[in-house]
Structure formats: C-alpha cells, structure tokens
C-alpha cells in the first residue's frame, strides 16, 4: 500500500508539473491540441484534455441549476455535481484528482498528508492531517473536527438523505444515534484521534477501498461550536479557498474568497476566480439557451442539454463544436427476474438477451449522443477493472439476434415464446420508452410483455424491488439503472450484484442477482488492500453475472454538455463525468 501511495504522490506531482508547464508554455494555437491541452473549440475538445489552459486570476463564474441544490451541507449531500462543487468550500481527508483522463478517477490527499495507511488486515485506517489549515474564521482545523463531521452524518433523523457508508462500516457503539441525540457517548471504538493531527478509523470488517470513503464529503471538517444541525446548510463553515457570501436557499448563493485559505497547504487548487454565482430553480431550456449564447457559464448539474437544445446543437456544426460528450459511470439496464417462471430457466433468459433490440434501447434513452453507448457489460468502461466482452451479440445493426433467440427459446421448452409482465417507473419517459421498445422487439420471437408502470417513489420498496410482489405479480422484467457513488468496482457492483442486499421487505436495487459464487468473489475483492489486485477482480465478477443472464445491459449513459465559452482550464473529470469545477478560471 505504501508503494502505491508513493507512486500516487509522485504521479500527482509529475502531472501537476506537466500541466502547469503546458499552461505557462503559452498558447498552442497552431493545430489546436497538443498533449494534454487544447485551445481550438471543437466537439469533445475538453473530453480528455484541458481546454483553454490559463493561470489568469480574477472574474466571477456563473452557474445555474434547473432545480434546487440537494443540500450544501457536506454531511448530507448525495449528488455528484454537489460533491464536485463542494471542493471549493470544503476540504475532506482525500479528494479526486482534478486532472483530465483516467488519473481523474484516483484519490489524492487533500486535508490529509497522504492516503490512508491500513493495518490490522484492512480493519484499521490511519490518516495524518496537515498542520496549519484553518476554517474561514481563522480557527485551526483539528482531527476532532473531522471526527465530529463523520459522526454527525450518522444521525439519519437529521440527515436522512445522505450516504450511509460510514454507519455501515465503522465499529460504532450499539444504538449510537449521532452527537445530538447520543451526547457524551464514547465513540472511540469507531474513530480515535490520538493527537490533533491524526485520525484513526476502526471498521467492523476489512475494507480495502476505505480511501474512497475518506474522499466522501462527510469527512469535510465541521466545527462543533458552529454546528446547527439541519440548519447548518444555511451557512456552511468553509475550509476551502472560497466561503459563502450570500445564501438564499432555493434561489441563489454566492461564494467569495476565503482569506484564511493558504495556497501553501493546498497542491490541488489554484483558486483562480474571485467568486462564484449560482442561481437555483432556473428554467432548464433557459439554461441551455444562455449557455449557448455565453450568458451563463455552466449548467452545474451536468446531466446534459434538454431535448429542444439537442436538436439545435446537433444540426449546427458551430454549436456542436461547443459541446462535449462524456460517458457517465451509470448503466441503464433491465433486470430479468429468475423468480418468475419461465425465467427460472437460463435459456429463456438468454432468449431475452438475444432478442432485445439494443439500438431501440439506445434511442429510448436519447440516441447515441444524449442517451448513451450500447452496453454489453455491467461495468461501464471507465471503472478500473472493466473488461470488454459481449456474451449475447445483438447482430450487425444492434437490433438483436432473432435466430439465436429462437434457438434459446426452443432449448428452454418455450419455442413459441411466453408471456410475462414488465415494470417501469411511470414518471420516467425514457424508461417508458425502453419498456415499449422491448415490448416490440421481444414480440418478434413471441415473448409478449404486458407493461406495468409504478410510481418511482415506491418503485424499489413496494414493487420492483420487493421480492414477494415481484413473484405474485409475475414481474419478469423491470427497468433499472445504477450509478456508482464513486468510480470503482465496489461502488458500482456491490449494490446490484450482491444477493445479500436483497430484502424480503423490499428496497434494494438488486432485484434479480442471486449467485452465491458472486457473493464470495465480492467478499474476496472487498478485503483486498492492494488496489491493482482488487481492481483485477471486478471484470470476472461482471462476466460471471452476465453468464447467468439475469441482467440485460442497456446503455452506458452519456450526456451532451455545453462547454463554457469564456472560462479557462475546462476539462471533463472522470470522477464526476462532468466539467471539473475546481480548476475553472475566467479567461
């Protein structure tokens, strides 16, 4: 592990040097892109390179959100765009590297001096915190502040919407409800702070990927004296280069420079702009129009343009040159439930895999640009450990292999097809379109689907994710989707292929995968503390699940996003699959 961390640190330094060298080296405007930078505006210019590099300071970046921010509180926020943006006003133990390309998917120390040091077989993780980093009010940040931040996020009554990894892994005292309700309870069994600059996490069982948890915003320190619980989001105390100036919840907020942030303690941030303005609940089509005209810099949610703008952009080469098309770490798929006859027979499930029209699936989601790339595996390509394979080729045009499907049907004893029900979330037009597309493509081999819409609020708890309901209502197929909380195999696979997350009372995203061999493979991978060895194990797990034909992969999601016209250092972060908000400057 120490070897890996040294490599990581060295790698980061080298990359940072080369980046700044390219930036200082002036404009490469001869043919537009050299090595890691680009200056000519063209389609996907910022996908793997830094577009418009510059070190110029000053200016205000303008962002807009079509809805409301999920929450500014680092203890509860659960959206990728928020985690991306949060690094401006919060420093956690680790963070994702702000560089383009695959490197952006690796963790690097932020508040900590280095990545975590595991001991006790991976059950204990130690981090050393840098000295002299201050909050916006000048108080020095101590390990106790990080401990407090993690503990308060465990209070799910005050923060019901946040990630639940820490309470799952930490060895907390029984019945612990967080610092508000369990005041004075000794939590040293879970987290200890031997001194002001060391923090140690004690887990219930070994977990090799703990560094990813340390990169969660829940490790951003919170001063206990200024913590106001569910109201803390009204004024989050900053540990990063920017602090909150104005905060009108539901309307807008602005960030200004934090005078107590010291560049010397921070090798990841350059803090170029003077401030940020974020407008909330702005009309989505309006955002697109203003992005294209240059009136607005960034659509902060980063999920892509609306259908109306899509038409405009694709048809106009000048506008298309202003966009990037990243692949997201998200898979849209359909679960094939073996608890519903005749899908208990593997060949009947394979028939579905062969007969499905993958191109239709892709169109249902919005086509090759705005929808996604046709998926043949469960892991999307950017997850370390991804292996490319296609067990059920869908023919030359991607519309399915009817002949092979019919063979499979014959093998499972249903040569003329069969009937079953398909569930989808009623409020999601893309899932409705997927269901209807599958209804048509499977009908070609005699498989008749009856479509059943369900409300998305209860979809997993009451319907698709509720095993007794699935069986009683013969839901052979259900639309599904999964985006990892962080881009590694555990983050992606654990909730969707581990049979032990399935509850009889409902609620899990995994509705169909019950393979004991896969569970064992997952446990082995999780405990492995060597990153390279761990990553190598995800691919085989993916393949093993696909061999059971209990998941029909649809598309690896993609988004078409508009590049900011007047900003510098624009690039796609592979960790968040949208523009990296930390490095942007005003050109």
């Amino acid at each position: 592990m120490i070897r890996t961390s040294k490599v990581l640190v060295a790698g980061t330094a080298a990359l940072a040097l080369s980046l700044s060298a390219a930036a200082c080296g002036g404009k490469d405007d001869s043919n537009g892109s050299t090595g890691t930078t680009a200056t000519k505006a063209e389609f996907n210019a910022a996908l793997t390179k830094v577009f418009n590099p510059s070190d110029k300071k000053g200016g205000t970046i303008k962002l807009a959100n079509a809805g409301d921010w999920d929450t500014l509180d680092p203890g509860e926020t659960y959206y990728g765009y928020s985690w991306n943006f949060l690094r401006l006003y919060g420093r956690g133990l680790l963070m994702f590297k702000p560089t383009p390309g695959a490197e952006g998917n690796t963790v690097t120390p932020d508040l900590a001096e280095g990545v975590g040091v595991p001991s006790d077989g991976g059950k204990t993780w130690t981090y050393k915190i840098r000295k002299g980093i201050k909050f916006e009010d000048g108080t020095v940040i101590k390990a106790a502040d990080v401990k407090y931040a993690v503990l308060r996020s465990i209070d799910k009554e005050t923060f019901p919407n946040g990630p639940a990894y820490f309470e799952g892994f930490l060895n907390l005292p029984a019945g612990y409800k967080g610092p508000y309700k369990s005041k004075g309870v000794n939590t040293d069994s879970a987290i200890t702070t031997p001194d002001d600059n060391t923090i140690v996490f004690h887990l219930k069982s070994a977990f090799g990927g703990f560094d990813y948890l340390a990169a969660l915003p829940q490790t951003v320190p919170v001063p206990a004296a200024k913590d106001t619980g569910a109201k803390y989001k009204e004024h989050v105390v900053s540990s990063g280069p920017y602090m909150f100036d104005q905060n009108n919840l539901g309307k807008n907020f602005t960030l200004k420079r934090n005078p107590n942030w010291d560049q010397a303690t921070d090798s990841n941030r350059k803090a170029l702009p003077d401030g940020y303005e974020v407008a909330l609940n702005v009309n989505a089509d309006d955002i697109d129009n203003r992005l294209l005209s240059g009136d607005l810099d960034v659509d902060v949610v980063g999920t892509g343009v609306q259908p109306a703008a899509l038409g405009r952009v694709v048809g106009d080469p000048a506008l298309k040159a202003q966009t990037d098309n990243p692949v997201l770490a998200r898979l849209w798929y359909t679960s094939i439930n073996p608890t519903v006859a005749p899908l208990d027979k593997i060949d009947c499930r394979k028939a579905i895999e062969y007969a499905a029209d993958k191109t239709g699936y892709q169109t249902a989601y919005g086509g090759p640009l705005a929808g996604g790339d046709i998926a043949t595996t469960i892991l999307p390509p950017m997850i370390p450990g991804y292996q490319k394979f296609d067990l059920y080729p869908a023919g030359a045009d991607g519309t399915g292999d009817v002949a092979k499907a019919k063979e499979a049907l014959a093998a499972c004893g249903q040569p003329n097809g069969f009937e079953t029900n398909m569930g989808y979330r009623a409020e999601r037009p893309k899932e409705k379109a997927t269901a209807e597309s599958l209804q048509q493509s499977l009908a070609r081999v005699g498989i008749k689907l009856t479509l059943k819409p369900y409300p998305q609020g209860d979809y997993f708890s009451q319907y698709a994710g509720n095993p007794p309901y699935v069986k009683a209502n013969k839901l052979g197929l259900v639309t599904n989707g999964w985006g990892a909380d962080w881009n590694d195999g555990f983050g992606f696979l654990s909730q969707i292929v581990d049979s032990r997350v399935i509850r009889e009372t409902g609620g899990s995203s995994n509705t169909s995968v019950r393979i004991p061999e896969v569970d064992k493979m997952l446990d082995t991978a999780v405990a492995e503390t060597d990153q390279a060895k761990r990553d190598a194990q995800w691919g085989p797990i993916d393949k093993r699940v696909m061999e059971e034909a209990v998941i029909l992969p649809g598309v690896y999601a993609k988004s078409l996003i508009v590049r900011p016209k007047r900003l510098s250092n624009v690039f796609i972060s592979e960790a968040y699959n949208m523009y990296d908000y930390l490095s942007l400057g005003v050109a």
């Binding site: 409301d68 659960y78 799910k156 019901p160 639940a164 913590d227 919840l249 539901g250 609940n281 009451q462």
Partner: protein, 337 residues
C-alpha cells in the same frame, strides 16, 4: 348590516377550516384508505441509501404515526400560535402563522408563500387591467352596434378565445414570439419589480397578454349580454324619451347597471386567479403560487401543499366576502335574506 357582516365573516372562517380539513384529509387519509403505511409515506422523504431504520425515524419525526386528527390539530395550532422545530443541534421557534416546514427542504413554508405571492399578484393585476379594459370596451361596443359586422367579428373572436386552452395558447405564443421572433422574454426569466422593473415588465408581458386574451373574450361576451339585458329595460326607454343624450343613456344608465354583475364576477375571478394561475405559471415558468403548488404536489411535499391550498382558498373566500359585502351595500334586499 352589521350582523350581516359578522355572519359572513364567520361563514368565511368556517369555510377556511373546511377547506383545510378537506385538503388534510386528501393527503393523509386517502393514502391510508388505499393501503399506505407511515413507512411507505416516509420513503418519499429519504434519500437513496435509506435503511428501514431511517425510514422509521423519519416517519416518526414527521408525525405519520399519530392519528390524522392529531396531526391536523397540531397544524392548526401552529397557524395560530406558532410551533417549535428541532434541528438536531438546536430548536427553532416558527412564529405564527406557522405553516410547518417542508418535508423535502426543511425550510419554513410561510416565508416561501409570501415570497411567491408578489409574482402571482403581478401576473393577476397586470392581466386584469388588460382584460377589463379590452373586454369591457369590446362588449359595450358590440352591444351598442348589435348585429353589425363589428359585433359579429368581435363575438367570433371572443368565442374562439374562450375555446382555446390557455396552456396551448401560451405554448404557441412562447414558440412564436419568444423563440422564433425574439420579441418577448423566454420562459423562466422573471425578476422581481424591486430588482429590475424593466426586466420584470419584459418577462410578464407575454403571460399578461395570453391570460388577458382568454379573459377578455369571456368578459366581452358577458358585457355584451349584460348590456343587451339592461338596454332593453323600461327605464332606458324612459331616459331616451326624456331627451337625454344617447351617450349618457348608454354609459350612465346602461353600462352602470350592466357593470354591477360583471364586477362581482370579476371579483370572484380575481380571487380564483390569485389562488391558482397554475397553467399560466407552469407554461411560462413563473415562480408564483400556482407553480409552487404543482411542484409541491409532484414532490408530495405536504406542508407546502397545505399552505398553498389554504392561501388559495383564503383569496377565494375573501373575494367572495368582498363581493357579497359590496352587493349588500348596493342592494338592500340582500341584507335581509
């Protein structure tokens, strides 16, 4: 007279209670009747990682385990005396009238309602000035020139205006005037009057016109019918016979009499508009009470829905009350009945 006012006031208050109770019943009773439990209700307000324990906690926190009448009583009490809310690390007092805290954003509802009100008010006032002016004058002219080409054209347009769904007109107007021609502001660009009067006007121009189009059509028809009614009365003939100028006959006697019922209808319409210009606000993305209501309902945010429904009912009731009182002043027969 005094007793009449008191009686109407009491009736108005009773009405508000009934509306609030009915809204409460819809959101809290009906789900139970169709088989929801406190847990299934609570799943809407927790995040993706919610465990059954979290769902349980939230169901308790939001009071779903209490009987419906208790939850209702608590809410009513909050409106009159305010309530205290715990935020984990502290307690906040929510002053009366306290419409509770949003289940989704945990922000107090009442300030949000007050924030949205000026938008709907701007929309309603602007549009009503337009439609009263245009609708009434068209109706009067049509009535006076009954049977003429002008009359027929005006009434045809009015009939068309009444038959068009406002969201269709709004969408077509947006497409044509904002996006294709660029003459008016695109949807969702509202700024408050206090920040930028010019932009405020620009953003509301098209919504005013679209809303006014629909209502002027209605009012033109109403005015014309009312005028024709009064113009055929005996006293009009008497006035003419007495030698009064035609203009005086038309305006002073005819229009005045026809106006009274029109204005009462206007009062009711204005009240309804304040409560729910839902479709216009939705099409033009105006951050008013109507859009607030739709957003709240789609996210199942019950305190917000209760708040906006009560506010809307309040306006309707007040409008009714004002109209009734005005009628009592004007027409003594009403007071006795």
């Amino acid at each position: 007279m005094f007793t009449y006012i008191i009686r109407r006031l009491l009736a108005a208050v009773l009405l508000l209670f009934i509306v609030s109770a009915a809204t409460f019943a819809i959101f809290f009773l009906i789900p139970r009747l169709v088989g929801s439990t406190p847990e299934t209700l609570a799943t809407r307000y927790v995040g993706r990682a919610a465990t059954p324990e979290t769902v349980n906690l939230i169901a308790h926190r939001l009071g779903f385990y209490d009987p419906v009448w208790l939850q209702y009583g608590r809410w009513i009490k909050g409106i009159f005396v305010g309530a205290d809310y715990s935020f984990g690390a502290g307690v906040e007092h929510c002053p009366a009238p306290c419409f509770g805290y949003s289940f989704v954003t945990h922000q107090p509802v009442w300030p949000e309602l007050l924030d949205r009100l000026p938008v709907t008010l701007s929309l309603a006032i602007g549009a009503s000035i337009l439609w009263l002016t245009f609708g009434l004058s068209t109706g009067v002219v049509s009535a006076l020139r009954r049977g003429s080409v002008l009359d027929r054209t005006a009434m045809s347009f009015s009939l068309a205006g009444v038959s068009l769904p406002i969201f269709f007109t709004g969408m077509v107007a947006l497409l044509l005037f904002s996006y294709k021609l660029g003459w008016t502001a695109p949807g969702g660009t509202y700024t408050p009057f206090t920040e930028d009067p010019g932009q405020w006007f620009y953003a509301l121009l098209l919504p005013w016109l679209v809303l006014a189009l629909q209502f002027s059509a209605q009012y033109a028809r109403l005015t014309r019918a009312g005028m024709l009614d009064t113009m055929s009365e005996d006293y009009i003939r008497t006035a003419r016979a007495k030698g009064l100028r035609e203009r005086d006959v038309d305006i002073k006697h005819g229009l005045r009499a026809a106006l009274t019922p029109i204005l009462t209808i206007f009062g009711l319409d204005f009240g309804l508009l304040l409560g729910g210009a839902v479709l216009t606000e939705q099409v033009f993305s105006l951050p008013g009470l109507g859009k607030y209501a739709v957003d709240a309902i789609t996210t199942n945010d019950l305190p917000k829905v209760l708040g906006v429904t009560l506010m809307a009912a309040f306006f309707v009731v007040i409008a009714n009350l004002v109209v009734d009182l005005l009628y009592a002043v004007v027409d003594p027969r009403v007071r006795v009945g």
